[in-house]
Every structure is written in structure tokens, then in C-alpha cells.
Symmetry: C2
């Protein structure tokens, strides 16, 4: 199974109570691809600048990630700077330099055409839609978005949502997209916009998946995967993207598409997100093993398991 | 098994997006006692004024709750007014009239002396300590507190915490009490202050229980009970107290004291809290049946159960 991931590759400067780093490899697509690479073959579509070196490429290559869809443009790679205060729940952006990302036009290499899974990272919804239309043979499309697109490009986003099977967003984005404060009601409104399933990420409280009636099998109950309380949170950057990578990666590896697979995927999403935050940037995802992943998956199950 | 509950009986005036009510029966002890009454015999210690009528008494009597420890004082019962905005997560207090509650001195009737369980509701920590010392034969003491006491009467609270076996507070209270933003680390700091276990209530995300090393059996892993996403939230007042009632009530009914009992109790806490918010005031707890409770308990289990 192969999965195409489109999104950003960036250099991040991050300050948290645990320390400070400058210009380290980041970006939504980077976290997603690294997390998903533990489960499936990942093919990236992104853009980088002249400051993207062989050492950066190696981070992807060591996880077997295909970079043939990465465009090397003149100029600098997307840069983001931000800081987290004590609570670690919200980033305060210091600066955003879009650089080569500003005129990003995703191009799908011919070699990616047989991919069965697609993840549309957090980019302009019109670009998401064009990628999805080009890869019209995929079995399942996951997608992300954010308040910036929900407010600024709502009409384009609504068109894209009709092409997305599973939307992964957080509580605030769900409420904003639905214009509804009650989360289960907001979820129903979002599902009515197109997706077969909606994954709402609750940060340290885990995530809930809501299904459209009849989608992925019978039943109408939502499902929740709690997150393990983590003592060692050094850098929350990339947690949501790593969650999406674990979620989509597990689905791509599972063979069949049904509710039980999506439920397990929700746990694997939480597992990958919880690892990502233990070190700055991609450090923990780079050093991770499949055994550690399975160990934490079991710990997550036991966290809510009654005898 | 009998349980003594000490706390407030109040008349509440509440405004939520679902409507408005005035002077309805409320108070932490009321919600706690009603919720716990589905599991065990509850004996209340509280104070009411001359405006507390037979009709109010009947709400307790119909659930078999013992009111012999309720003092009838001259003056008016404690009154609270508050409103909830769209998010329903936080109450904005309109007014607080302590009335007879201001000089409340809990007195334990002789008939309560053989009680095996005790819940110290959210009152002055020095009063909590005096009740606990008087009922020194109890097997397990649960306790609540709030930011007001954590900040204003810290020294008294620290003494009381040494007498409490299970403390039930929310995320913000835990962080404030421990002066630590990371929740698992904050939990360890709170446990070091005395309690054998700490239940952190996460509102709509459920609750987590942290155990002191060696308390209630072996192991050191926390346990989390997720809450069911509720579409019908009309009035959040009393959710936390109803949670505590379900939690403590189930423990009192279980016979033995071990981690598995406390884990199940965490689910029952969530169940009772989720029912309480479906109607204004105590309405839903009054109409509830044990069958409905068991049904939701199963739904909660399935919410996170992988095949």
C-alpha cells in the first residue's frame, strides 16, 4: 500500500519551557510522513528551497520515504517561529516566512499515480481539491484544515470537503466549521458537509471519531481513544500531524476499510502524537522503533480497559 | 454500607442557552447525595434555612436519603446565581448569598457514627478536617476542594489532605494546588501531599485517576474513563458533584477496596455526571433508573473498547 502526503516542509524555530531550537526540520508533511512511515510506504508532495540539504533529505530517506514529488525551488524553505508557554497547549507564532511555499503548486509525479491512499495536509483547499482530483484512483482520502481556511476560504473548503473521506481537525476547528458549540452536534453538521468520518483531536485528552450513518459499516456510535498522560512534553510542535500520520498510516497498512480498523487507527494516531512531543522537532520520530509503538499501543488500551 | 456526605444545599438561579430557572434545589451535597443514592445509603450533613420546605425534603426522601444531619437554621438557605455561555464549560457567577451557610458548623448525628464511607464536599478545609476526625472509623474518605480554598486557606487545606484518601478535583485545581503545569507531574505532587489516589475531572473529556505507589494494590499506571459525547447538555450545574456521587457511591457498594473497583467507579462517576447535565438542576437525577445507569455504563465501556 502506498500513500501520498501533500503539505509543508519547513524550518522551525521553537521555544518551550524545555528549551529553544532554531531552524530545525519541521512542517506538517514532515511529521505526517515520518509517523506514517512506520506503517506504510509514504510518497511526499511538497516544496523546499535551496537551504534544504542532503542531511535533511536523509531524515526522510532513512525512513524509506519517497521524495520524488518534492519540488526544489529557488529561494528559501518555509520558515516558522513560535513559542509555547507553560500550558503547552497553544503556540504563539513569532514569525511566518512562507518563502517558496507561497507559490506552491503541488505536482504529482507519474510514479505516484498508483497510490491507494492520500492525505491532504493543511494547505489552501483549492490546492487540496486539485491534488485529490488528479489522484482519482485512491481508496481513501484524509484531510486536514485550519481556522485560517475555515474563515478565509470557506467556499473552496466546502467543495474540498466533498472529496475528503476522513477529516481530521481539532475541537475549536470543528466548532468553527459547523458554527455550533456542542461538539457532537457540530460533528453531525460537519459530516453533512461531505466526509464519511470526522476525527476530532482533543490534544492531551485523545481523539473522537464520528461516523456518517452507514459509513464503514453499521452503527452510529462515536468512538474515543484516550491519550496517555505524558510527563515528558518538551515540544508540542507536530503532535497533530504525527497523529494524522499514525492514523492514516495504520489504515493504509490494514488492508480492509471498516470501523474496527478506523478505531485502531485512532489509537495509533494518539500513540504517534504522544511520541512526537517527547523531544524537539522530529528527533523522537527518527529514533522510534515499531516495538516501542506497539508497547504504547498496549498501554493506551489498558489505560481504559476494565477487567 | 452507609456514606456520610457533608456539603451545601442551595437554591440556584441558572441561565444557560437552553433556558432559565430560578431558586431551584441545588448545592454540591444535593447533587452528590442524589447521584450516590443509586448505589448506597446516603446520610447528609448540611444546613438549610426556613425557605427549605417539605417539597424539597421529599426530593431527598424519595431517594431514601437520610436528612437527620441537616440543621434547620433561622434565615435563608444558601443561594447562588450563575450563567453559562455557549461553551457551557464555565459558569459566570451572578451572585452568591451564603445566608445560613456562612456560619455552618457541621454536626454529625449519633446515628451516623457507624458510617463506613465519607465524602467531604467543597467547604472550608478546617470544617472538612473536623468532620473527618469525628468520623474516625470510616474505611475511605473522599474529598473535594476548589481554587478559593487552595489560594485562600492553603495551610488548612494541606492538613485536611492528610486525612483524605481520594481527592476529586479538576485539571485547573490540580495544577494550582501543585503549582505545576504538566498534569501527570502535578498529580504526583498532589499525591505527595497525602491522598492515596487523585481523581482529576476533565469535564466532557472524562476523568483520570492517579494512584500513589502501592495504594489500593500494585502498579503505578493511571487510568482514564472517557466521557460519552453528550448532545443534550441543558445545564452543567452539579456535573462534578454528581460525578463524585457516582464515584463514591459505587465504591461504597462494591464491598472491597482495590484498583479495579476504583476504575469502575471512575466510569460510574462519568455516567452520573453525564446524566445530571441533561436537564436543569436535579430533574434528571430524580427521574433516573438503575437500568439507565447500567445502559450508559456499557456505552461508556464500548466507547473505547477495541475488539
Amino acid at each position: 500500500m502506498s500513500m501520498v502526503a501533500v503539505g509543508s516542509i519547513a524550518f522551525d524555530s521553537i521555544s518551550t519551557p524545555a528549551g529553544r531550537v532554531e531552524n530545525i526540520l519541521g512542517g506538517s508533511c514532515t511529521y505526517f510522513a515520518l509517523a506514517a512511515s512506520f506503517f506504510t510506504k509514504v510518497r511526499v508532495v511538497a516544496v523546499v528551497g535551496e537551504d534544504f540539504t542532503l542531511a535533511h533529505e536523509k531524515v526522510f530517506a532513512q525512513r524509506g520515504i519517497d521524495l520524488r514529488g518534492v519540488e526544489h525551488a529557488q529561494g528559501k524553505t518555509f520558515r516558522w517561529g513560535g513559542q509555547y508557554r507553560d500550558s503547552l497547549n497553544e503556540a504563539k507564532t513569532d514569525f511566518t516566512e512562507l518563502n517558496v511555499f507561497e507559490s506552491f503548486q503541488p505536482r504529482i509525479p507519474r510514479e505516484y499515480a498508483d497510490s491507494e491512499f492520500l492525505f491532504l495536509g493543511n494547505i489552501h483547499p483549492a490546492l487540496q481539491a486539485s491534488v485529490r482530483r488528479e489522484l482519482n484512483g485512491v481508496r481513501l482520502t484524509g484531510g486536514d484544515t485550519m481556522n485560517f481556511w475555515i474563515q478565509g476560504t470557506r467556499q473552496e473548503l466546502l467543495k474540498t470537503l466533498k472529496l475528503v473521506d476522513v477529516l481530521l481537525i481539532n475541537d475549536a476547528e470543528t466548532k468553527m466549521l459547523a458554527d455550533e458549540h456542542n461538539l457532537p452536534r457540530a460533528a453531525q453538521k460537519v459530516l453533512a458537509l461531505g466526509p464519511q468520518a470526522l476525527v476530532i483531536k482533543h490534544g492531551e485528552y485523545g481523539a473522537t471519531i464520528f461516523f456518517r450513518e452507514g459509513a464503514f459499516g453499521i452503527g452510529h456510535h462515536p468512538f474515543r481513544a484516550p491519550a496517555l498522560p505524558i510527563e515528558e512534553v518538551r515540544d508540542p510542535t507536530g503532535a497533530g500531524d504525527s497523529f494524522a500520520g499514525g492514523f492514516m498510516g495504520y489504515i493504509a497498512s490494514a488492508g480492509s476499510l471498516n470501523r474496527e480498523v478506523l478505531k485502531r487507527a485512532l489509537f495509533y494516531g494518539g500513540v504517534m502524537g504522544s511520541f512526537a512531543v517527547e523531544r524537539f522537532g522530529t528527533e523522537r520520530l527518527q529514533s522510534l522503533t515499531r516495538e516501542e509503538i506497539e508497547g504504547r499501543f498496549q498501554a493506551f488500551r489498558e489505560l481504559t480497559h476494565l477487567e
